[in-house]
Symmetry: D2
Subunit: 290 residues, 4 copies
């Protein structure tokens, strides 16, 4: 499918006249072939100031140099524009650590996508507070770490998770229905790297047992939300959401079943946006260049 190699340049800066011109001019001057480009100017109405967001995919072999030199040459322009930016190489696979508990749906779903290379990533390991899926994960040739969590060992367990994540040089941690709350310090340690799937259409039904809450309120649609994890539980920037229709005949168990289908689809879409650098943060919100 997508075999050609490309670089993805993304970032944001205060808005002003001429940003696209200067950046695309830089690319064109080196004969770079732009495959895809997206821009968004926030109008500053949300009180965070008018800001410019961009993402470009440039064909790797159209440029006369590689990433290191690109970075060096682009830095002065970015500095002039006060741009926060990054560039990534499609040939370098992202290293995604999966965190799971006892529910199977997101794990099977992500491994299916990984197996078929639809999700073209490394999974250096899976970490779980249960050993339910040890054999299944290892069968796929992926190391599995069982890090049990009890009231007594929380600090040690969280330290162990961080140690493993650092050791395998993870760059993304996916909470694939991992049913433990991670401490604020840990959430702050990996900003923009920890992705969670919450089983409600946030901001409805934050916290525990959202399907029970939805059942009690009698809503006619239930949903799921993929978001970055921040210090405040269920309050991080939303990446993706979706819903499915239910009715009065659906029990909480039925809602859980329907919800699983939404959860895994929303997580997979949100994760892909993240991995392809399609998500740019702006205060507590996201710009998603689909």
């Amino acid at each position: 499918m997508q075999t050609r190699r490309f670089y993805t340049l993304s970032g944001s800066c205060p808005d002003q006249v001429g940003i696209i011109s200067r950046i695309s001019g830089f690319i064109a001057q080196h004969n770079g072939w732009i495959l895809e480009s997206s821009y968004h100017a926030d109008d500053g109405n949300d009180g965070h100031g008018s800001r410019y967001f961009m993402r470009m995919q440039v064909k790797a072999d159209s440029l006369p140099f590689h990433l290191a030199e690109f970075r060096e040459r682009f830095a002065p322009l970015a500095a002039e524009l006060s741009m926060e930016w990054k560039i990534s190489d499609s040939a370098v696979k992202r290293r995604v650590v999966l965190m799971v508990s006892k529910q199977e749906h997101c794990l099977y779903d992500l491994l299916a996508r990984w197996q078929s290379k639809e999700l073209d990533i490394e999974i250096p390991c899976v970490i779980s507070n249960h050993d339910t899926f040890k054999a299944f994960v290892e069968w796929h040739g992926i190391p599995f770490h069982h890090v049990p969590i009890s009231a007594d060992n929380k600090i040690g367990a969280h330290a162990e998770i961080c140690r493993i994540y650092d050791e395998v040089r993870g760059d993304t941690m996916v909470l694939a229905r991992y049913m433990q709350i991670l401490p604020p310090e840990m959430c702050a340690r990996y900003p923009g790297q920890m992705i969670n799937i919450h089983h409600s259409f946030l901001p409805s039904f934050v916290g525990a047992r959202p399907y029970h809450q939805a059942f009690q309120r009698g809503v006619k649609l239930i949903g799921a939300t993929c978001h970055y994890v921040t210090r405040e539980l269920d309050q991080g920037p939303i990446i993706e959401q979706d819903v499915i229709r239910i009715d009065h005949s659906d029990s909480v168990e039925d809602m859980v079943r329907y919800g699983k289908d939404i959860e895994k689809a929303v997580l997979a879409r949100g994760l892909r946006y993240h991995l392809e650098d399609r998500v740019l943060l702006h205060a507590n919100k996201t710009v998603i260049f689909r």
Copy 2:
């Protein structure tokens, strides 16, 4: 289209063996032709007790008697089953009073459906706190009452609305983006008769300016909720909901525009369910026999 006349029998009672048998037996014994029938047994897991819900449409001319006699003959059986029930006649048009302010979308939408008889109701009058749509409504041959509301005259204005509603013998009051909060006493006075369209996917974003709230939170879908009005603002039983996708490029104004399309569609569906006796209340939730 729907020209045949039918009776709609609906109600609920504590669950027990043999309810369908006894009720359908009663209908069959009088040779009644059931056009449509729906049943739902609540499993009692929500703490309100196991309860049985039903709705039947019976062809009017298949029965050897009319509504008054049906009511008389059915009452003993209903009493035995401790059933709360009602029966309505498709030949008797419902009397729906519309309440509007300055937004056009729900008003035009409902009048279009009324004009084409898709919504086969009487609209004895439209009441508004502004005179924006006076000429438009009157052109349709429908009386228009301008009842302005200010900080000073709230009590009088609310009394006037009740007076008009009672005088025209309204049986349903539709708050079609009526932008005033009605007092708890008034909400309690017409239980199960007042239908509101709220411009968010409840329980998210209760209260004022929900699109601004949604914009601030950065949700990826916005919605609307049609619900019965109760004493507590935006807390009544939900009849219908729906959502539409937005993205980072959508301003609050864009969200308002998208939202209007969802609001009018959700209100129209919810109102139809109500008018066709498809909505049964159970505590603060609804059973909807679509």
Copy 3:
């Protein structure tokens, strides 16, 4: 979750006065507790005659006899009503044979549901024209049969599939993106047992490469269709469908990726309806009692 045992009685007959009364009367007379019941009267406008459809779940231990005796006692009433009917026992697991080729998504998805008992079935074996998933299936403890198909051996291969299916006493055959066309004789041999997932929103884009067809036509939504397999390719009764939004930036490969998410969700829903006897056939259409 759903631990209580129940019988599911479903069927259809020519419409007349008193059907519900007689059937629910039969159940009530034996003290049967109806957990769920659904009825539909087709109005005969499609030229196939007015027909009555029903489905009931009865609590098993509320009845004083088991299935064999139920069948015997119910048969005379069914005969009087000219009803085609069946009754099944929730304690008897259905035997579902999966047919796959080289695509992983439906297989992983169904095995995840089976592993967690969301799908509470037996999978006596998986049959494939490739050996891609042999190890994966066998790891789950499920026998895997590799039945290659080439231009030369079609008749033999199809016979082998039938032999295996019969030998394992399959009652449902799921074509989970099985990329071979099965011969009309085989389709006719297992009526109402073979379920396919087609990767388009039928009747659009029948036949080969539907995503390429959709790309050429420039549609704004793509879909998937779960249907019974009949003699005519892609023409069988539709059980379930759904769609997802795409846009001009999506290549055929992107559409394939989005489509996979719809395919597996639609197949899983359609299969569940089938397994729970929620699907009743009427000419070339289905009644689905959700």
Copy 4:
């Protein structure tokens, strides 16, 4: 809401290195403030050649000249790029002629949007083959032309429609459930100006009575399609589509009712994309810069 004036520049050209750079350079050189910009590079896989599409909104008062001078100065660059392009001014209202028959929903919907200025256009007249909505349209202060069509007068009637459209200097003709087929010559006369709403999810159910066709096939979702009218009936480039779920209990009349809600929403969205120059044609497909 949207009070600032802007120019919309849109167009397409063969793809090459440096297009964005040169065009955004031209804008920046004149100090133009880009409010919104979208680009799409077609990969040429559909056999029509790799092509570049773009759309920019530039703040009008940021430029030192008006449209005429912009056109003159931009023309040489566009010629170098072999670009087909246009530029429009948000202060110049589009002139949209509505064509209707006897169905009310799209007409009421469009007039509601026009009345509230959500749709900020001129409606120089409404043309209909029936006089059903004459008084309603005229009440809004819009001229109404009744142009009856019979087997005998088709040529004359079509000529009269063209005469009126030309006379009022229409730039967009909306077939808002206009139930007559317009001749190929007329369709070819106004390329990219005639927008139709078809009451099916094309390419399913082309031609007459699509809801009846959908009922016969037993589909589980019905839809609507907004497309440009071309010589070939129901084959023009698709602008927007959507669907709604139905089930076995829905008659053709129910489907018509559900369908109306989809039709008006899809038409309104498609029309807005068109009016804001968000639709670029590519062979028989559209690029939509939402």
